[in-house]
Symmetry: C2
Subunit: 638 residues, 2 copies
C-alpha cells in the first residue's frame, strides 16, 4: 500500500457536485479509493476508523443520490463522518483531523455547510432531523432530511422519543439505521437482539406481500431495482415490525456495502417517499481493512498505526491511567464487599468496567447507551442495600441530570458516581469536555462531591465512596494518566469535607480542587522564588467544603486563589459564597476564583486546552501578580 | 352523597394485611368505598383526582394479590397513588394531602415503607423497579417488583431505555401498562396510536395460539381464569407485539375495572411468571365520578370542589397568571412573525401553549413526555431559520440538560426557553421545585438568561427572546399570578445585560433577580424606616451581568445583597465571581448572596416555602442587619 494512496478518481471529487458527474459504474472504484484514503488518514491522525470504514459506500450513495447540502444529511454521533468530510470540500485539511486548529472529529456546523447539525453525543440525529423536516414543511420547501443512526444509538431513549414523534407527525424524514452490530461495546438490550432477528431473516414476509406494500408507499412507478436490493439481502421483513408500529415505513435489511442495492433504494425513497421511512442497512464495522474487521472494538478509536501491520502506536505511559486506577481500586474493594455492583452506559472499556466485569460478571451491568436509565437503575439497586457505582463520563452524565436530581439526590440514595473524563479531554474537544459536573452536582442537596488530584487520591476516593452509605457521592478524575505518585496498597476512607495542605506559605494561598494541583505546585515554586511565600492546598471536596481550612487560608493570606478544571458555579463559587456569608471577604483578602472561561474551548492536546483556558501554572502566577497589582514578570519568563 | 361517606368495609382495612383477610367477593364493595373516600378527600384537599379514580380496582387487586411491602410496588409519576395511600396506613392523614406538613402528593420513601421509590417526574418506575429486581436476584430473594406506568409516560425515552434493558436482562419484573389514553393532555406520538390499535382489537391472535403461548410462559398449571380475563376484554394480542419484540411477555388488554379479571391474571403472573412481563390494563380516567369521566383533562389536577355538582373552587385571581401572560404575549408576537413556533412536552395547558395552539395549530408541536427530544427538535427548527420557543417547566427542563448543553449552547442556536414554574411551586413540593435552572443555564457559554420580576417584565422578555437570533436565550417566571402591575400594550426589546434601578438609596443595595423583587421593595421600606437608606435593583439578566450597575452598587453601598429563588451556583455566584475578579470585594463591602438553602424544601404554600428558605422580606432585613453587625430588631417586629 502506498502512502498516501493513489486515488485518481477521488482526486476529481472535491464536493458532492463532482460526484454526481460520475456514472454509477464508477462508484465502486471511488468507494475503494475513499476507503484507502480514509485508512491512510487515520493511520496518521488517529481517531475513529472502524465506523468510517463501515459507511464508505453509504456515504458515496447518499451524496450521489441526494442533493446535499440543500438536502440535510445528519450523521448521528459523527465519528463515522470522516469519509463524508473527505468528499465535502475538506480533503485538503483531512490530515489535520483532531489536531489543534484542524478538522473536528465529529460533524460541526461551523466547519461546513454539509454539516447541518453538529453531533458527538449519541442519538440526537432523529430529533434534529425532524425539526428540520417540519421547518421545511412549514416553509413549503421540498427537501430531504436524512439521519444516519447506528444500532447502538438506538438504545438511547432520545432516539425513541424522536421516532415516536416522527411517526405521529408523518413528516418527510429518512432514517437510515446503520446496523453494524457493534457501537463501541457489543450492543446491549432487547432492541439489538431484535435487530439481529430482523437481519437474520427470521421474520420475513414473502416477495409478493412486500411488493404490494412497497407500491402502496412508493406508488406504481416504483423502480423494481428496490425489490432486487432487498431480495438480495435476505428477504423482506414482516409487516408489523417495531418500526412500522412506530409509524415508519420500513425497508430492509439491505447490504450497505453494495452500491447497486443502495442507490436504487435511496432513489426510490427520494422520488416517491412521503412520510417517515426507516431503511435498515447492514454494514460491517472496519469493512475493507482486515485488522479492523477482525477486531472491530480495537479499531473503534485508534492511535496512529502502521497501515501494513495494523500495529497501533502506543503512547508512552509511565503512570497508570486514572481509568485503570479506578477499576483496580474498585475490584480490590469488591473482593471484600459483595454489595458493590457497577453500572455502565455502553462504555465498559472506556470506564474500565470491562476489567471489573472480568472478575465480577454478575455484578456488572451494561445498560446500553441509556444514561437516564443507568442512573435510576442504580438508584433502584441502592434502595435494596447494594452499593452501586455508576461509572459515566462527566459529559455523558449530563444526559441523566434529572435522574441525578430527582431519583438520587432528592431521595438521598447512596449511588456512587465515578466521573471519568472530568475537565478537558483533548482531541474529542468541546462536545466531550467535562466542564459542568462540579456545578451541576455540588448545587444539589445531599450530595458529596470529590475530585482526585492524583491517582493515589483516586484510590482513596473509591474507598471513601464504598463506605459512604448516607447519600449520593461523586468523585471526578481526569482523562489520561496519573502523575506518578506512589500508590497506597489500599485506599483509605477520607474524612468528609476535609482537604489537605500540601505546602505552607504566608502570603499567597492556592486552593486547588482536582487535577490542577500539580500546576499549583509549579506555580508555588515560582511564586516562592519571586519572594511570595505560597501555601498550596488540595480541597479534595467541592462539597462539603473544608470550611475550617478555607477560613484559615482566607485569614492568613493576602491572596487566595481557587482553581478547578470546571465551569463557573462550581467549587470557586461555593468557596466565595462561604466566605461572603462568614464576612471573610471584608478583611481585604484578594480572592480570585479560577475556572473555565465563558466559552467553549476547541480541541487540542489537553495541556494546550488548559493553557488556552488560562488554568496552567503561568496563568496562576499571572493571576497572583495581577491581584497584587504587580507585573507578572516571572510569569512572562515561564 | 354523605361527606365523609360511609365506608364500613374500608374502615376495616388499615394496611394491606387487612385487605388480604377479605374474601374476593367483598372486593368490589371495598373498591366502591375507596372510590367514594377518594372523591371526598380530593374535594377537600384538591390535587390529582382522575388518575386515582382510574386505578381504584387496580390498587385493590395489586395489594390483594401481592405481598407489599415485601413485594415492591412502584407507581409511576405517583399522582395516581392516593388510593394506594389510603390503604397503606395513611388514611388517618389522607385529608392532609398536599398541605404543609401533610402527606405528599406523590409517593415518597420517607413517608411509608409501602412507597419503595419516590416518584413525581414521569417514567422512572421501570428503571427503579429493574434495579430492585436485579438486586433481589443477586441476593437470591424471590420478591415481586411491580411498576405501574401510564400510557403517556411510555412516550418518554427513559421508559424505553428501561424496557430495552429489562428485556435483555430477563429479570423478574412486572410492568403494568395503565392505558387510560389520557395522561395530562391527550396522548401524543406513535406509541399511543399503537396502544389504541392494540386496545381496539385490530391485532389479535386466536384463543388457541394465545393459550399455547401462555402455557409456555406460565406452565401447564396456569389458571384458566386468566384466559377468560383476556377473552372478556377483546381477544388476544398477536405475537410479535412491540413489547414482545422488546423481550417482555405481553398479556392483555384486560379490563382494569373488573376485579374478576384482574385478580386471576395477577395471581398467575405472581405464581408462575419468571422473566419480564407487561400486563396491558385498560382503565378509564375519572372512573366512577361522572364529572371526571366526562372531562378527564379538567379533573387531572383539581382545586377543592363540590362533590355533588363537580364545581371546582376558583382561587380569586386579580392578576393574570404568568402562564397566561406568556401565552398571550407570544400569540401577539406570533401574529407579526410567522417564524415563531412552539414546542411543548405534553404540557399544552400547563404552559399556556393550548392558547397558542388555538390560534396557530400548525405552529404548535406537542411532542409527548419527551423533553430530550423536545429541545433538540427545537434546535433543528432553529437551524432552518425558525424562531422556536420551547416552553418547559424548570424542573422538567432538567431532563433535557444535555440537549441544552450539547445541541443548543455548543452550536449557539437561537432556541428560546420559556421556563415556567421557576422557584418554589407550592403543593407539588420538592420534586417539582424550579431550583436549579439559573445554575445549570447561566454556566453555559452563549446563553442569555433572564428572570421576570413581574408580569410586565415577562411580556418584555418574550419580545426580547423573539428578537434574539444570536444564540440561545431563556427566561424564567414563577408559578401563579402576577403582582398586578400595569401591562404594556406590547413588550419592548430589553437591552441585553442591563438591569434597572427601582429605588435609590445610599447604604444598602438589594440586587434581585426575578420574583423576589417585591419582597426586596418591602424590605427596603423597612430598612429605610430603620435609617438604612436602601437601593433596590432588578438585575433582569443572570447572564450577561449588568457589570456597570453591579460595580456601582458595590462601590456606593456598605451592604450588597443578591437574592434569587434558585440554588447556589446561580446569579449570586456570578455576581461574586465578577466582583472578585474586579477586585471590588476588597473595599470592604459586605456582600451576602441569598439563595435557596442546601436542603430540599417540603411542600407548603409557596409563600411559606419562601419563608422556610429564608428568602422573604423579613429574612432580607435580617441579613442586612446581621451583615452590619446589628440586631435585626425591626425584622423581629415584622
Ligand atoms: Mg453499531
Ligand atoms: Mg394515560
Amino acid at each position: 500500500m502506498k502512502s498516501p494512496p493513489e486515488t485518481p478518481l477521488l482526486d476529481t471529487v472535491g464536493i458532492p457536485a463532482d460526484l454526481k458527474r460520475l456514472s454509477e459504474d464508477a462508484l465502486p472504484q471511488l468507494a475503494d479509493e475513499l476507503r484507502a484514503e480514509l485508512i491512510d488518514v487515520v493511520s496518521r491522525t488517529g481517531g475513529h476508523l472502524g465506523a468510517g470504514l463501515g459507511v464508505v459506500e453509504l456515504t458515496v450513495a447518499l451524496h450521489y443520490v441526494f442533493d446535499t447540502p440543500d438536502d440535510r444529511l445528519i450523521w448521528d454521533v459523527g465519528h463515522q463522518a470522516y469519509p463524508h468530510k473527505i468528499i465535502t470540500g475538506r480533503r485538503d485539511r483531512i490530515r489535520t483531523l483532531r489536531q489543534e486548529g484542524g478538522l473536528y472529529g465529529f460533524t460541526k456546523r461551523s466547519e461546513s455547510e454539509y454539516d447541518p447539525f453538529g453531533t458527538a453525543h449519541s442519538s440526537t440525529s432523529i430529533s434534529a432531523g425532524l425539526g428540520m423536516a417540519v421547518a421545511h414543511e412549514l416553509a413549503g420547501e421540498k427537501r430531504n432530511v436524512i439521519a444516519v443512526i447506528g444500532d447502538g444509538a438506538m438504545s438511547a431513549g432520545m432516539a425513541y422519543e424522536a421516532m415516536n414523534n416522527a411517526g405521529a407527525l408523518d413528516a418527510r424524514l429518512i432514517v437510515i439505521l446503520n446496523d453494524n452490530d457493534m457501537s463501541i461495546a457489543p450492543p446491549q438490550g432487547a432492541m439489538s437482539a431484535y435487530l439481529a432477528r430482523l437481519a437474520s431473516g427470521r421474520a420475513y414476509q414473502g416477495v409478493r406481500d412486500f411488493g404490494k406494500k412497497l407500491t402502496s408507499y412508493l406508488g406504481e412507478g416504483v423502480d423494481r431495482a428496490i425489490t432486487r436490493a432487498v431480495e438480495h439481502a435476505r428477504g423482506y421483513v414482516t409487516g408489523g415490525t417495531l418500526f412500522e408500529e412506530m409509524g415508519f415505513f420500513h425497508i430492509g435489511p439491505i447490504d450497505g456495502h453494495n452500491l447497486k442495492h443502495l442507490i436504487p433504494v435511496l432513489k426510490n425513497v427520494r422520488d416517491n417517499g412521503t412520510g417517515p421511512v426507516l431503511i435498515h442497512v447492514v454494514t460491517k464495522k472496519g469493512k475493507g481493512y482486515p485488522p479492523a474487521e477482525a477486531a472491530a472494538d480495537k479499531y473503534h478509536g485508534v492511535n496512529k498505526f502502521d497501515v501494513i501491520t495494523g500495529a497501533q502506536a502506543k503512547a508512552p505511559a509511565n503512570s497508570p491511567s486514572y481509568t485503570k486506577v479506578f477499576a483496580q481500586s474498585l475490584i480490590q474493594e469488591a473482593r471484600e464487599d459483595d454489595r458493590i455492583v457497577t453500572v455502565t452506559a455502553a462504555m465498559p472499556s472506556g470506564t474500565g468496567l470491562d476489567l471489573f466485569e472480568q472478575e465480577f460478571p454478575e455484578r456488572t451491568f451494561d445498560v446500553g447507551i441509556a444514561e437516564q436509565h443507568a442512573v435510576t437503575f442504580a438508584a433502584g439497586l441502592a434502595t435494596e442495600g447494594l452499593r452501586p457505582f455508576a461509572a459515566i463520563y462527566s459529559t455523558f452524565l449530563q444526559r441523566a441530570y434529572d435522574q441525578v436530581v430527582h431519583d438520587v439526590a432528592l431521595q438521598n440514595l447512596p449511588v456512587r458516581f465515578a466521573i471519568d473524563r472530568a475537565g478537558f479531554v483533548g482531541a474529542d474537544g468541546a462536545t466531550h469536555c467535562g466542564a459542568f459536573d462540579i456545578t451541576y452536582l455540588a448545587s444539589l442537596p445531599n450530595f458529596v462531591v470529590m475530585a482526585a488530584a492524583d491517582e493515589a487520591e483516586l484510590r482513596h476516593m473509591v474507598r471513601t465512596a464504598v463506605e459512604h452509605d448516607h447519600g449520593p457521592i461523586a468523585f471526578r478524575y481526569p482523562r489520561g494518566n496519573g502523575i506518578g505518585v506512589e500508590m497506597p496498597e489500599r485506599g483509605e476512607v477520607l474524612e468528609l469535607g476535609k482537604g489537605r495542605i500540601m505546602r505552607e506559605g504566608s502570603k499567597v494561598a492556592l486552593l486547588s480542587l482536582g487535577g490542577r494541583l500539580e500546576d499549583c505546585m509549579k506555580a508555588a515554586d515560582e511564586l516562592d522564588a519571586a519572594g511570595l511565600s505560597t501555601t498550596v492546598a488540595d480541597a479534595r471536596f467541592a462539597k462539603p467544603l473544608d470550611t475550617e481550612m478555607i477560613r484559615r487560608l482566607a485569614q492568613e493570606h493576602e491572596v487566595l486563589i481557587t482553581i478547578e478544571e470546571g465551569s463557573i458555579g462550581g467549587f470557586g463559587s461555593h468557596v466565595l459564597n462561604f466566605l461572603a456569608h462568614e464576612g471573610l471577604l471584608e478583611s481585604g483578602v484578594k480572592v480570585r476564583p479560577m475556572a473555565m472561561p465563558d466559552r467553549f474551548i476547541g480541541h487540542a492536546k489537553p495541556e494546550r486546552m488548559v493553557e488556552d483556558a488560562g488554568l496552567d501554572a503561568p496563568a496562576i502566577v499571572r493571576t497572583v501578580f495581577a491581584a497584587l497589582g504587580q507585573q507578572a514578570e516571572s510569569a512572562a519568563r515561564a
